[in-house]
């Protein structure tokens, strides 16, 4: 079945005068925006819990991530060790993570550290923003890292013993679920791992399907998955939600369900009230305690997917702005603005110049930046910045010098040129290259010269303590670099 996708304009469709413009986005972003909305809703629930307005929530069955968060919480709170690591594979914006946080908030549990692996950089970035940058200080669920990790190559995952790995195949599917399970359990990358998978499955035989985001996949057979688990000697249980979110696919023939599978190397009980069945139990549709909510075509209100009313927790309240400003009022005219950081170096900005700007009709403009090449990130550019910020921002100027030296890899000729520029401005005379033959000597010589040049130029070490300088060196060179160690030695001596 051919499907056309893409932004564009349809005109004279099928002989009519109808015109359709439509927009499209990359499918993974379409999936992600739904997940983002779930994150927002769970966060609103968490705010309500924190404010004491609600003390428990019950699902009406519409949100799969509510169920998955429940299961994750059960598995993690029953851990043998005090803390347990969780790997979220195929994470998007983290609705399962946010749901987990809700249950952690409702019912205290052990501290949980999460590593997320994402198929796309947008997800990694969004996860970091949502779950690391914006977070409550008392959060017991810590997002340790969000990085790219593409199935199946990112498996087997290595981690501490007893780690739990959750592979989310709800929206971004994978055709061979059994292979993912084999990859993890046939290696000893994690001792006694737990694996949880949410996947769309068929009954009897695999079925090729096409989803509304135009991905073509194959629904794995639930029998094949269970047989693969049993052949590996695994213990576990599964839950089937028949016909859950079937409209995600273009119409197809066959029996379909969403499967939530939990497998371990040794027996691990799950709350049977959720409807989980052991692997060796007869295949039947589970989920008797969860009513699958049939999404109505006219139902556009996501909030109806939860039983609890979505309370207003005072997020709409604004402070008294007059009082707010009075609490922070002060008289700038009494302040002493003459400190070292008070001067605002306008010369720095004058370097952002554009040639040919008087010619309004010119199609091309050459941008002169801090250096002739147009790059702010060059060594020359850094030295320029160091000169300009010398009086107003010693820390930034020292950082710029060190970064410039790092960029030229301590090459003696380049270092000499840069330090001459630092002292005297753009050099009009060629600089003599020092006689150093061993590369191993370059770093020490360069950094010795740098420190001397900074002192003689009257900034940097004059204003900054050795600890601060060491930190700047660590940032410029990298904590593990040889250059940083040599710099530290020179500062200590």
């Amino acid at each position: 079945m051919k499907v056309w996708r893409g932004a564009g304009t349809f005109t004279r469709l099928a002989g009519t005068d109808r015109t359709i413009h439509f927009e499209a986005m990359p499918p993974h972003l379409a999936k992600g925006t739904t997940d983002l909305y779930e994150v927002v809703l769970f966060r609103r629930l968490r705010s309500a819990v924190a404010a004491g307005i609600i003390s428990s929530v019950r699902p009406s069955g519409g949100s799969i991530y509510f169920l998955l968060g429940t299961v994750l919480h059960q598995l993690l709170s029953g851990a043998k060790h005090g803390e347990r690591d969780l790997f979220l594979v195929n994470a998007s914006f983290g609705p399962a993570l946010e749901a987990l946080k809700l249950f952690v908030q409702l019912q205290a549990t052990n501290r949980i550290k999460v590593t997320a692996l994402c198929q796309h950089s947008e997800y990694a970035r969004g996860l970091t923003v949502l779950h690391r940058s914006i977070e409550a200080p008392d959060n017991l669920v810590t997002l340790d890292a969000a990085r790219l990790g593409i199935l199946p190559d990112c498996l087997p995952l290595a981690g501490p013993p007893n780690s739990l790995i959750f592979i989310d195949l709800f929206k971004q599917m994978h055709d061979d679920v059994a292979e993912l399970i084999r990859r993890q359990f046939e290696s000893d990358a994690v001792a006694e791992p737990g694996l949880m998978i949410a996947a769309r499955v068929s009954f009897g035989h695999p079925i090729p399907v096409q989803n509304v985001l135009n991905d073509k996949n194959v629904l794995a057979s639930v029998e094949d998955i269970i047989e693969s688990c049993l052949s590996l000697g695994l213990h576990g249980s599964y839950l089937l939600l028949e016909d859950f979110d079937r409209s995600f696919f273009l119409p197809f023939d066959g029996r379909y369900a969403l499967m939530v599978l939990c497998v371990f190397t040794e027996p691990t009980p799950l709350n049977a009230a959720l409807g989980f069945r052991p692997l060796d139990a007869p295949l039947e549709s589970a989920g008797r305690d969860l009513v699958v909510f049939q999404r109505k075509e006219t139902d556009r209100n996501y909030d109806l997917w939860f039983d609890a009313e979505m309370p207003e927790v005072g997020l709409e309240d604004e402070p008294d702005w007059k009082q707010w400003a009075d609490d922070r009022a002060w008289d700038p005219s009494n302040a002493d603005w003459t400190g070292g950081a008070a001067r605002y170096d306008v010369e720095l900005f004058s370097y952002h110049t554009i040639t040919g700007k008087n010619d309004v009709n010119a199609r091309v403009r050459r941008i002169l930046s801090l250096d002739e090449s147009g790059s702010h990130a060059s060594a020359f550019g850094h030295m320029m910045m160091a000169r300009l910020l010398a009086s107003s921002d010693p820390a930034a100027s020292v950082y710029a010098v060190l970064k410039g030296i790092d960029l030229v890899d301590s090459e003696p000729g380049a270092v000499a040129f840069l330090l001459a520029f630092l002292r005297d401005g753009p050099a009009s005379q060629p600089v003599e290259k020092p006689r150093l033959t061993e590369e191993s000597e370059w770093d020490r010589a360069a950094l010795t010269d740098v420190l001397r040049a900074l002192r003689e130029s009257g900034f940097g070490p004059v204003f900054l303590a050795a600890e601060r300088l060491a930190k700047l060196g660590e940032r410029a060179f990298g904590a593990e670099s040889r250059r940083h160690k040599i710099f530290q030695e020179l500062l200590d001596s």
């Binding site: 304009t9 349809f10 409209s247 922070r328 605002y344 952002h352 700007k357 309004v360």
Partner: protein, 314 residues
């Protein structure tokens, strides 16, 4: 398919523009057409009949606003590229914060057009990585209630971040000199009452109002229509900015390093109505940074009246 006009809304084409446009006019040979509307994905056949539909649990605003948002969302200040407008904006806000840090341990900032508070997160990261000892009280204002609701929920636990729903042209809820710094990044070009907006921002600032604006080398300001959001964008001239700010003490203008090509502008404006394209001269448009400083900061910021009129602007 009785009421075709209401069911098949005309939606502005947006990113990316596809060469399919040429083929489409000749019909689609029995294939399905996937149409993403505000909260659903529809598959229609060549007659326009609905074949399949997937309802998305989202309201219109989120879908349009955030589908690309995290593509560009920055989390660490030092990951930004120096050529990005966002970097330059934050670089100068950081410089102003450094100034305040020399005399105080706390700074209050109002950002007009704050969206999800990305600049707040980046600024906080920059301050932390630099080791500046200063706390930020950050207030944002945005005119889209759905954006404001989302941002509030995302920052629900942050006691130093506030966001209000309102038009940046009218800051009447804030008294004079309420915030140490008022900042905005390419927002005042799209506000409803431009002249009033600049004056309001300057009024509520205690130290300075810093804005990045789109300006032109042309004699007169002009308006262009944004392709995606039906927004009128006014491109200022230096003169028009001076007229708009009644209570100015001093300002200084410098150019940022980005410019638009004509092709880019064409893609971003509605080509179906070519009348306003004549007003657009892309090479004349630049992003410029403006610092409107209050009197007590003027001498120490080394702002000289002679810098007010750079040679490049009329």
């Amino acid at each position: 398919m009785s009421d075709t006009k209401s069911e098949l809304e005309v939606i502005q084409t947006a990113w990316p523009r596809s060469p399919l446009s040429e083929r489409e006019s000749r019909g689609n040979n029995g294939a399905l057409i996937a149409i993403e509307r505000n909260n659903a994905i529809e598959y229609r056949d060549e007659t326009g009949a609905l074949y399949h539909q997937y309802q998305l649990p989202m309201t219109e605003g989120y879908f349009h606003q955030f589908r690309h948002y995290f593509r560009y969302f920055g989390t660490r200040f030092h990951d930004l590229h120096p050529n990005q407008i966002k970097f330059k904006f934050l670089f100068h806000v950081l410089a102003l914060v450094r100034k305040v840090a020399a005399v105080r341990k706390r700074v209050s900032i109002l950002e007009i057009g704050v969206t999800l508070g990305e600049n707040y997160l980046l600024l906080r990261d920059a301050i932390r990585s630099e080791g500046l000892e200063i706390d930020i009280d950050y207030v944002g204002i945005d005119n889209d209630g759905r954006v404001v609701a989302l941002a509030r929920e995302l920052h629900a636990h942050d006691r130093n971040f506030w966001i209000v729903n309102g038009d940046g042209s009218d800051l009447g809820r804030f008294a004079d000199n309420s915030f140490d710094l008022v900042v905005s990044n390419t927002v005042h070009n799209i506000l409803t009452d431009h002249d009033k907006a600049l004056g309001e921002a300057f009024r509520v600032a205690r130290l300075a109002f810093f804005a990045i604006l789109m300006t032109t080398l042309k004699e007169e300001p002009f308006v262009m229509r944004h392709a995606m959001y039906d927004i009128q964008t006014k491109v200022f001239t230096a003169k028009s900015l001076k007229r708009g700010l009644k209570a100015r003490r001093a300002f200084w203008v410098y150019e940022l390093s980005k410019f638009w090509s004509q092709a880019y502008v064409k893609d971003r404006t509605d080509g179906s109505d070519g009348s306003h394209l004549d007003a657009v001269d892309a090479p004349s448009i630049r992003w410029t940074g403006w610092i409107f400083a209050k009197e007590h900061l003027l001498p120490e910021m080394n702002l000289l009246e002679s810098r007010v009129e750079p040679e490049t602007l009329p």
